[in-house]
Structure formats: C-alpha cells, structure tokens
Amino acid sequence: MSWGLADVRVRRGRVLALDGVTVPVGRSGVTVVVGGDGAGKSTCLQALVGLVEPESGTVRRPPKERVGYVPATCGIYPDLTVAENIEFAALAYGVGRGERDRRAARILGRTGLDQALRRLGGQLSGGMQRKLAVGLALLHSPELLVLDEPTTGVDPVSRAELWRLISGAAAGGTAVAVATAYVNEAARGERVVLLESGRMLASGSPEEILRAVPGAVGVVPGAAGGVPGAAGTAAGAGTAAARPARWWRRGPAWRVWAPDGELPEGAEPAEPDFDDAVMIAALAHEAGGAR
C-alpha cells in the first residue's frame, strides 16, 4: 500500500479547509495537487506530513524522519550559507558525513549550487533557493517527499531543473507529492488531484481526468460583440459573471462546453485538452454547489 490521504476532513477555525479529500501518493511516481490560492493545497500537504490533524479520515505516511517536506514559504535558512544549510539539514536528519558529502555533491552539481557554497541562502535568487530547499529535503533519502508549490514564481529554466530533481527522486523510488497552481504541471503527475475550496474537483491520471470529461467541447473563433450564439449577452450587457458560465476564452477564441453533448450553433467540435478538463470540472462543481 502507498502513502496519502483518504477521505480527509480538516477544520481550521470555522472553515472546513478540506472536505473529504483523497490524495494517493504511490511509492514511486509523482502525485500533483493542483488548485488556485485558497483551494486547500497547503492544508492537504500539511495533513500528509502531520502538521495539521484531520477531523476525520485516514493519513498514511512513513515515520517523520523518513519524510522530506518543503513548505511554500521557503525551506532554507536565509542567514546560513549554502554549505551551512546542508550541514544543518544533515545533522538534523542524522545523515553521516560521508553520506552527506556524496549526496550533497550530487545535488549541488545538478543544481549549479556548487558555485554558491559560501553565499547566504537569503542572497540566492528565488529559483536557487527553491532548488536548495528541495536538495535539503532529499539529503536523507526520504521515502516520502512533499513539496508545497516548489515552482511558483520560479522562471521556466529553474522550473525545468526543479522538475528534473523531483523526477530523479521519483525515479529513485521516493514517493512524491507536489502542490502547484500551474495547471500545465499536472501533466507531470502520475496521479493528479484538482482542488477548489477544499473539495476535490477531479482526480486520477491526466488521461483519466481527460477521458472523464462529460458532453462535448466546441470552439468559436474570436468575435467582438459578446458570446456567439448566446442571446442577450453582447459585450457591455453586464459583467462576465452574468454570462452563461459554460463559455470561456482561450486567446481571442471562445470555448464552450455542452454537458449534454449538444453544441450551440456555430461552435466547431474540438478535442478537449487538459485545460478544458480542469475548466469543465470547475464548472460542473460550481453547478453542483449551486443546486
């Protein structure tokens, strides 16, 4: 059996921060938890590593010393040098000197941090800080690696390097859970959980989530003057919220979701992609919540 959350509820004050959330984390491979600000991603990961206590549900994780966790805030000591950060993490996890040097050399070489050993953590660029944090969390070869938004605000080059580190950990047999607000990072997951307001919108492999899209998706080329084919919604007729919610934009074009498969006139059928699947899951959830 693997690690993860099963049907977990977490209450924070009066707010139900997680409501029946299940996040399976396999013994190798990456689980990606995707959602916007306030969706419950951090709470999910904090429940997974034992920082918050669920009101109900099951949490499975290895013993604390076999877990590597990087919070969204940072995960390094800004007033220690890179070398000191490594030494501190190694001591905290009881990693012996030989082992530490071997693993640190590998991680440092991979991230380019070997050029910055004497620099203070706080003086590194954002991307370098994240790479150091992930490297520190990997120093004791954890069984479970938990990363809260490691790539947020990081530029694409550093993001690629981070994902290479994360992929390497997964390939080496570490169970990995990563939270992200970037929908396109979901494709990197073997399993994906979409969260919104503490609830699961969808879960499964990216392919499964895509296959589960009900109805049909259409596309209408960009046209000024409002939603094509939808009466009474010309531009200026109200706020975006007043429009039928099944339309959304992609670039200058409109995309439309017909839950019953009947596309409105003028819409060309389109093969749904993962972005569509996420949008449709959110729309379906909203419709369900309003009932």
Partner: protein, 288 residues
C-alpha cells in the same frame, strides 16, 4: 512612428557596464494582447519601465501612445503588478477613491463588481478577491494600454476565466494589453509573444511559431525509473511526465543510450510544448 500604443525601437538600457536591455524592438497595437516572456533577469521589467517612461533608454527610442512617455500618457495606462499594488490598510472604497483621484476621476462611484467589499480592508480579503479589486482599479479609467504582470498566477480555473474575459473585453474595446509572464498558461492566452533572454529578443510570434519545429523524444517503457536514471546520468535533459519520459535530445541518441543498458523502450519524436521550446531556446542544452 506608427499608431502603436507602446513601441520600442532598438531600445537599449545600460546600468554601468551591464546591459540590461539590448536593441529591443517591440510594439503593442490596439486590440492586441502581447505576451512578454522571459526568465528572471531577462530584461522584461527594465523594458517595461522604459516604455512607461520610468527609465530613459541609453540607446534607441520608446513611444507611449505616440509620444515620449510622460505623466500625461501614463495616465492612460492601467497597471496591475504581481503584488497587486493595493493599500492593504485601506478599505476597497478608499483604495478606489485614491486610485480614481490619482487618475483625475474624483467622485467616480465604486463599480458594482467590487462594491460588495467596499468597506472591507483590502489586505483582509482573499487573494482572488484582491486581484479582482486590483483589476477593477486598473480598468477604472478605461486605459488605452494595460500592463499586467502575471495577471492570473495562483488563480483557480473560474477566477482565471473571469480575468481573461475582462482582459479580452478591454482589448475588444480597443485597448492594447502587454502581459509579462513566465507562466506558460498565460503565454498561451496571448495573440503573440516576444521571448527575451539576457536583455535581447530571442523569438517572436504566435505560440506555434515560437515552438517552430522543435521536438522532444518521448520515452515509454515499463522500467521508466531506470530509463530516467540512465538518461539523467548521461546529461540528457529529461523529466518524468506521468510514466512517460520527455527528453530534449534526438530520439536516436536516446534510443542508443537506453539500448546500451539493455532497456527496451518505445522512443517517439513528438512536438515540444511551449515551455520545453522556451527552455531549449534560452538555456541551450541544459534543462528539460
């Protein structure tokens, strides 16, 4: 110059011996959503500051609404920084009055979309709501040019759809929109992209034009863990996607590396994604 809303012609900016922006051409026309893409330190912010007249070019020229940037032309610009730029200690209504006053629009009523929060302190609102308020403020004076920094990062799907709808409506009214980002989802929402690295423009065009003919090798094999380890150790930029691997290297090279270790794998050449193309462009052979 032309009727562009914002334009840089051979614009450069040096700080001492460091060249932050090197001979950049950029135009944003009416009704266009242009994405300015670049890694950190690529020169995006310096370029924007020149376009707004907050920095003078060392060489070349910039025009904002057809003239040298000035206080008057900046009044016709709406700007939403990544940090949103709200006064956390003021209410939404106070933020509105401050902004309307600054743009010479004193007395304008708080718009309906954000009026529900008028008496809340901006800093106490959820981030998504703060973003809506910041947008309403930036759009309040019907700007001719909108400058947006990662406008939808961290926003859930419905909120994101709402924001892009507002951005597109502004463009349909004739505004030009310049989006600076390193979020590929945002880049894919733009009409065209300008990719910067190390102060210079590396590529420009639609998403398809930026990707060009770039490909990656997709590796499928039961023993993906070992395949990853072998490719990674050989210095091939590679990443796990589900149970597939994607490697930024020629397929025959990838096949040969795996075959040498006795790994049977289906290696297929597939089109690169925007992010993969971007990384290949700015980082060369590093990174996957």
């Amino acid at each position: 110059m032309s009727g562009a809303l914002a334009e840089a012609r051979g614009a450069s900016r040096r700080f001492g011996s460091f060249t932050a922006v090197r001979a950049v051409d950029l135009t944003v026309g009416k009704g266009e959503v242009v994405g300015l893409l670049g890694a950190n330190g690529a020169g995006k912010t310096t370029l924007i500051r020149m376009l707004l007249g907050l920095l003078t070019p060392s060489d070349g020229a910039v025009r904002l609404l057809g003239a040298v940037p000035s206080r008057a032309s900046r009044r016709r610009v709406g700007y939403v920084p990544q940090t949103l730029g709200l006064y956390a200690g003021l209410t939404v209504a106070e933020n509105w009055r401050f902004s309307a006053g600054a743009f010479g629009d004193r007395g304008a009523p708080v718009p309906g979309g954000i009026a529900g929060w008028r008496n809340e302190l901006a800093g106490r609102l959820p981030l998504g709501t703060q973003r809506q308020v910041a947008f309403a403020l930036a759009l309040s004076h019907r700007p001719d040019l909108l400058v947006l920094d990662e406008p939808t990062s961290g926003v859930g799907p419905l909120g994101r759809a709402r924001l892009w709808d507002e951005i597109r409506r502004a463009a349909e009214r004739g505004a030009g929109v310049l989006v600076t980002t390193h979020n590929m989802e945002e880049a894919e929402q733009c009409d065209r992209l300008v990719v910067m690295a190390a102060g210079a423009v590396m590529a420009r065009g639609t998403v398809a034009q930026i990707i060009g003919g770039r490909t990656v090798a997709r590796v499928r094999c039961p023993d993906w863990n070992r395949a990853f380890t072998i490719l990674d150790a050989s210095g091939v930029p590679v990443a796990v996607h589900g149970r597939d691997l994607r490697a930024a290297a020629p397929a025959d090279e990838v096949s040969a590396l795996l075959a040498r270790e006795g790994i049977a794998a289906a290696v297929e050449v597939v089109p690169a994604g925007l992010e993969e193309a971007f990384v290949a462009m700015v980082a060369g052979p590093q990174g996957a």
